[in-house]
């Protein structure tokens, strides 16, 4: 970690960790991702690539019992409606986030630089439980995970477009191989995002004071934030 990115505020003061745009887009994205994954699982169930079905109770998209009563299907139609509504929320919010990240310098400050050496160093430190938490500064492992999940997000939108329009966007579908491989990529991308979320949420549980910061944007500087290095 470079000295320039280290918070220079004295202990006891409050600093802004997350800009307002990042906080708003974070929570809108959380809602959109939740709907996309939940409804995606139900859509998957109607024709799974692998012999695995997601329990209907953890899927999103209307009341399956009502769908069963009304038209003899377990809610695929409504899950599709949720999926293709939340996609607008996801994409518009994503465009705002990426534009802000690129134009404001947020990406440059928060996610770069990240070198393989730093990743290895921080990963080893984390495994020995000796990776300190620096308020408002991401360690190299975090940076890698955030950059990785953003890249997966882009792949999810592209593979999603290829599945939605394998005809009109046939070049895009061809980029993934064909319709079936685009579906596979879309599924694997979802799996990667779910794995990321498991780590992401686990870390919030381990360091709970990061949660209110994601709402207020601000955090109090502790003594140990300063000394750990």
């Amino acid at each position: 970690m470079t000295a320039a990115s280290f918070p220079a505020a004295p202990a006891g003061t409050t600093i802004t960790v997350h800009p307002l745009t990042v906080r708003i887009t974070h929570w809108v994205n959380a809602l959109a991702i939740f709907i996309m994954i939940g409804s995606g699982w139900r859509i998957w169930n109607s024709s799974p690539i692998f012999d695995y079905y997601f329990p209907l109770s953890v899927t999103v998209g209307g009341d399956p019992a009502a769908s069963q009563d009304l038209h003899n299907e377990t809610g695929l139609a409504s899950a599709l409606q949720w999926h293709f509504a939340a996609m607008w929320l996801l994409v518009i919010n994503g465009i705002i986030y990426f534009s802000y990240g690129l134009l404001s310098g947020h990406f440059r400050h928060a996610l770069f630089p990240v070198t393989p050496r730093a990743v290895l160093r921080d990963a080893f430190a984390a495994l020995r439980f000796r990776l300190p938490h620096h308020l408002g500064v991401y360690n190299a492992v975090q940076k890698t995970l955030y950059l990785g999940v953003l890249a997966v997000g882009v792949i999810m939108v592209l593979s999603g477009l290829a599945i939605w329009k394998p005809g009109q966007f046939q070049e895009l579908a061809f980029l993934f191989g064909d319709f079936d491989t685009a579906r596979l990529v879309h599924f694997l991308g979802m799996s990667a995002i779910v794995l990321f979320l498991l780590v992401h949420i686990s870390l919030v549980i381990i360091v709970p004071r990061t949660l209110p910061t994601m709402f207020t944007g601000r955090a109090r500087v502790h003594g140990d934030d300063m000394h750990a290095a």
């Binding site: 990115s5 960790v17 809108v28 939940g38 998209g61 399956p64 139609a77 409606q81 209110p212």
Partner: protein, 250 residues
């Protein structure tokens, strides 16, 4: 991230507190929404359903704008075409309509000059083409097949259909019904098909007449067609009225 120089000053102002509270409330609302969404009753209220239906209509318009009437869907080689195509309907194979080709008549109505019904032999006498395309199901599976029939555009021109009308609707022997936009109906790969895998459609594949429209999802390819009409009034469809997106373009 570097601390902002103004933070200390803003922290004490009333405005900053309001912003903070609002941000917290907003976060709380989305968290609340997350927990509510898993409940079945919330996602199926009339209000929520009305919003979803409106978004689906919006998606119809977006897809109509994305639709390129000259863009051909990918075609495949004979070797890639599945010979034993999957049977698919909302009922079991034992309930497949059995239609007598000898007495069959295709009923025409709506905005067409000639509403005279067509017999099967009259339909067979029209020039036919074959194509090998991918059938994409709304459920996610897909299958490449070979279909043979009359380009739908040629038939619509033949019967003097109003090609400026908005929709073409279909009614089927099994009670199924569907409709497509005129632009997709006129697409060069849209066929009134009589054959699959070089053989006359078996009853389970829609004998005697199926619409093969590779620019749309499978459920927009009605089988056992007995009547078709041209209209400016939105006709809907069997699955479309049950929540599937109407345009359903691929």
């Amino acid at each position: 991230m570097r601390p902002k120089a103004t933070t200390g000053m803003l922290r004490n102002s009333e405005a900053a507190r309001l912003v903070e509270r609002r941000a917290f409330l907003r976060g709380g609302l989305s968290l609340g929404a997350l927990t509510l969404l898993t409940g079945c009753d919330v996602t199926h209220t009339d209000e929520v359903q009305a919003v979803l239906d409106r978004v689906s209509r919006w998606n119809d318009r977006v897809q109509a704008a994305l639709f390129n009437p000259r863009r051909l869907m990918p075609t495949y080689s004979e070797a890639e075409a599945v010979k034993d195509f999957r049977y698919n309907a909302y009922f079991g194979e034992d309930k497949v309509p059995k239609i007598d080709g000898g007495t069959y008549k295709l009923i025409l109505s709506g905005l067409v000059e000639s509403r005279r019904p067509w017999t099967l032999s009259e339909l067979y006498s029209l020039p036919q083409v074959s194509q090998i395309t991918r059938h994409v199901c709304v459920e996610g599976w897909s299958m490449i097949g070979k279909w043979t029939g009359v380009p739908f555009r040629a038939f619509l021109e033949r019967i003097g259909a109003d090609l400026t009308a908005k929709y073409v609707g279909f009614e089927c022997a099994d009670g199924y019904y569907s409709s497509i936009d005129m632009a997709s109906a006129l697409h060069p790969q849209t066929l009134m098909t009589f054959k699959i895998s070089d053989e006359i459609l078996a009853p389970k594949y829609g004998y005697p007449l199926k619409l093969r429209i590779p620019t749309k999802l499978g459920f927009k390819n009605p089988k056992w067609i007995t009547a078709m009409y041209v209209t400016n009034r939105f006709p809907g469809g069997f699955w479309e009225d049950r929540g599937y997106n109407w345009f359903a373009g691929v």
